[in-house]
Amino acid sequence: MSRPAEATVEPLRAESAPSTGAHTHVPASAAPVLTVEGLDVTIGRTVRAVRDVSFSLARGEAVGLVGESGSGKSLTCRSVLGVLPPGCRVADGRITLSPSTDTAADGATDADVATLPASESAELTALPRKQWNAIRGRRIGAVFQDPASYLNPSLTVGGQLAEQLRVGRGLSRSEAYARAVELFAAVGLHRPAELYHQYPHELSGGMLQRVLIAIAVSCEPELLIADEATTALDVVIQAEILELLQSLRKEQGLALLLVTHDLAVVAESCDRVVVMYAGEIVEDGPTTEVLAAPAHPYTEALLRVASIGDWGRRELDIIPGRPPETGADLPGCRFADRCAYVTKECTAGPVALRTLDGGRRARCLRPAGPSGETRSAAAADPGLPVPQGAAL
């Protein structure tokens, strides 16, 4: 089945690919576009909802941020965007947007635009609001779950994209119109010139998400953050939007931070995966390797409940128990309550995120080995619950 696709975008997966499919491999040496170091986000005064989160994205790389709801994924990416909900703040850490290496002179030299030149490195959390606002939209684009709420219902979708192009890139009215129509076509919207004049309520959810993506990439950002951007769409449209994001990566060298609770979506489209649990990163590494042999018991559990792409009847697995309350202060491993491999040491003190082989990290005292070796100590410890079976 090597028939070339006639669609505008490339297929995501190669037919012959092993395991999780072909990903665009980014050289390990590629300079990071975004670096998050030791990020702590608190809700109110004391609730530490995001704890010591560190990761980076290379240019053109796609990273998936996964975890169940309440794990801190959205607060993390909202911190990067500088749009934390009221009452939440970055209490500690650095978020750095690296200088762009290949920025053309266009747009960036526009004197009207109150922004940092693209060639400067920016420590985002220290930026005044105005500059952060300018970076968001120009150097970092974002799309969210409910596109309709990010559009003005009383303006045409084309007008809203053109506005962004005039403000962000300094285009004239007629240039902005022409570019908007081009962008609508590029994100796979049919009859872009007619669509330009339509209002948000006249479009379907999938079309609105494409409009938002067009707006988000209109200033050719280096990074696009998609927070549950395909969650509300049906599978056919979801696959189309994911393919669109991949083609934008290829064409614009865009780095992609894909936030989702669905491990299957990450498997389909990300080079690397970062797994969060109860506010912390518990595992990260190359998607293919992590999914083939998860090191952390939580990743292992997530994988067990994910869509396996097999349509047979099967026992549906669950992850027993519940995550700790947001920000709860626990002495040891935050997953211990639900972990099938827990031992006394696990709850004795904080568990650090340790570096493993192959560019992987895991926050576990007894991570599984890369070829799926069982955690030896578990066998020696009798009476531990086996991590399977839908105990009701």
Partner: protein, 371 residues
């Protein structure tokens, strides 16, 4: 592939003599009056046409289809919340479409069929306690004493794995999304219905809670012999529990049959597109979505001509200008294409109950065109 369970189950069913369908829908049509007048026309919009569906006691039937395809309308028509304008709905030998207004109300109040709404947060009164929510259906029936209602509510809660002592006095805002969904389920089974229609019970839940709720449905049909219709867009989870599946596209049932057969070897191009598009942690797909989509820039298909899927179908050709009829699919082998253009009339009618039917002129040949 574990089809043994399914076989066991149908064997059980025939032993207990319950093979007569509990629900039998034939030729169902539903139209809505247009709310907004689009381009001056004030026609009624047809949202379901010629839909046939059979559900037996103890069976789980899945319904899949994109948003607006008519899934909720089909469920609402089945419980008498929407009046169909064609076809019949036989429930336990009684034609619901022939009932008068008050008979229909009485039937609904009997609690023999329960409908579990999409979005529990909106359908649960935020001021009631979990116990009160679960006992709500009894208010309409008015048969049991307060004492009995309380006992039945606790029973229903424990059937869905919730501890009444722990969460019975909480309000919906004080429990998690997964628990809220289970409260909805308890409320739906408290009247001990024969049929449960469950609309998107898991779309708002994470994978673990999703599996938990679906696992409960599976257990309820085994332990209570409940017949279940589940509307869901999560094909993978559905495949884990359902016996059969019906695929809706713009108000037409385009394919239905045993779920693993339909999903593993779809005969309709739309079902194939659905399964190819479903994300998965393993690359088990045989087809890619891109090779199933209509080519970009192809001439637009004329409105309302022939097959409903033609505007998006890669394989649409002149034959598709006539509307295809349901045809039975034989066995696991590839069916013959009827190139004559003469559709296999209503051949599927008897076969459709247990068998596999597809509504496509090229059901047997489109795969060959993939090259």
């Amino acid at each position: 592939m574990s089809s043994t369970l399914a076989t066991d189950r149908s064997a059980e069913a025939s032993e207990s003599g319950s093979t007569a369908p509990l629900l039998e829908i034939t030729g169902l049509g539903v139209s809505y009056g247009r709310r907004a007048v689009v381009r001056g026309s004030a026609r009624r919009t047809r949202v379901l046409a010629d839909v046939g569906l059979t559900v037996r006691a103890g069976e789980i039937v899945g319904i899949i289809g994109e948003t607006g395809s008519g899934k909720t309308t089909l469920a609402r028509a089945t419980v008498g919340l929407v009046r169909p304008d064609a076809g019949s709905i036989q429930f336990d030998g009684r034609d619901l479409t022939a009932l008068g207004r008050s008979e229909l109300r009485d039937f609904r109040r009997s609690g023999r069929v329960q409908y579990m709404f999409q979005d529990p947060l909106r359908s649960q009164d935020p001021d009631l306690t979990v116990r009160q929510i679960v006992a709500e259906p009894f208010a309409a029936i008015g048969a049991l004493s307060r004492q009995e209602r309380a006992v039945r509510a606790e029973e229903a809660l424990s059937l869905v794995g919730l501890d009444a002592a722990e969460i019975g006095s909480r309000t919906p805002g004080q429990i998690s999304g997964g628990q809220r969904q289970r409260v909805s389920l308890a409320r739906a089974i408290v009247t001990r219905p024969q049929l449960l229609l469950s609309d998107e019970p898991v779309s708002a839940l994470d994978a673990s809670n999703r599996n938990l709720v679906l696992g409960l449905l599976d257990r309820l049909r085994r332990e209570l012999g409940l017949a279940v219709v589940v509307i869901s867009h999560d094909l993978g989870s559905l495949a884990g529990i359902a016996d059969r599946v019906a695929v809706l596209y713009r108000g037409r049932l385009v394919e239905q049959g045993p779920i693993s057969e339909v999903l593993e070897y779809p005969r309709h191009p739309y079902t194939a597109l659905l399964t190819a598009s479903a994300p998965s942690v393993r690359s088990g797909h045989r087809l890619l979505p891109a090779e199933l989509r209509a080519p970009v820039g192809r001439d637009p298909w004329p409105d309302d001509v022939g097959c409903v899927f033609a505007p998006r179908c890669r394989f649409a050709d002149d034959a598709c200008r006539t509307e295809p009829r349901p045809a039975a699919v034989g066995g696991p082998s590839v069916p013959q294409d009827h190139e004559s253009g003469a559709p296999e009339a209503s051949a599927g009618d008897e076969a459709s109950a247990a068998g596999h039917t597809v509504v496509c002129h090229h059901a047997g040949s489109w795969r060959a065109r993939l090259g």
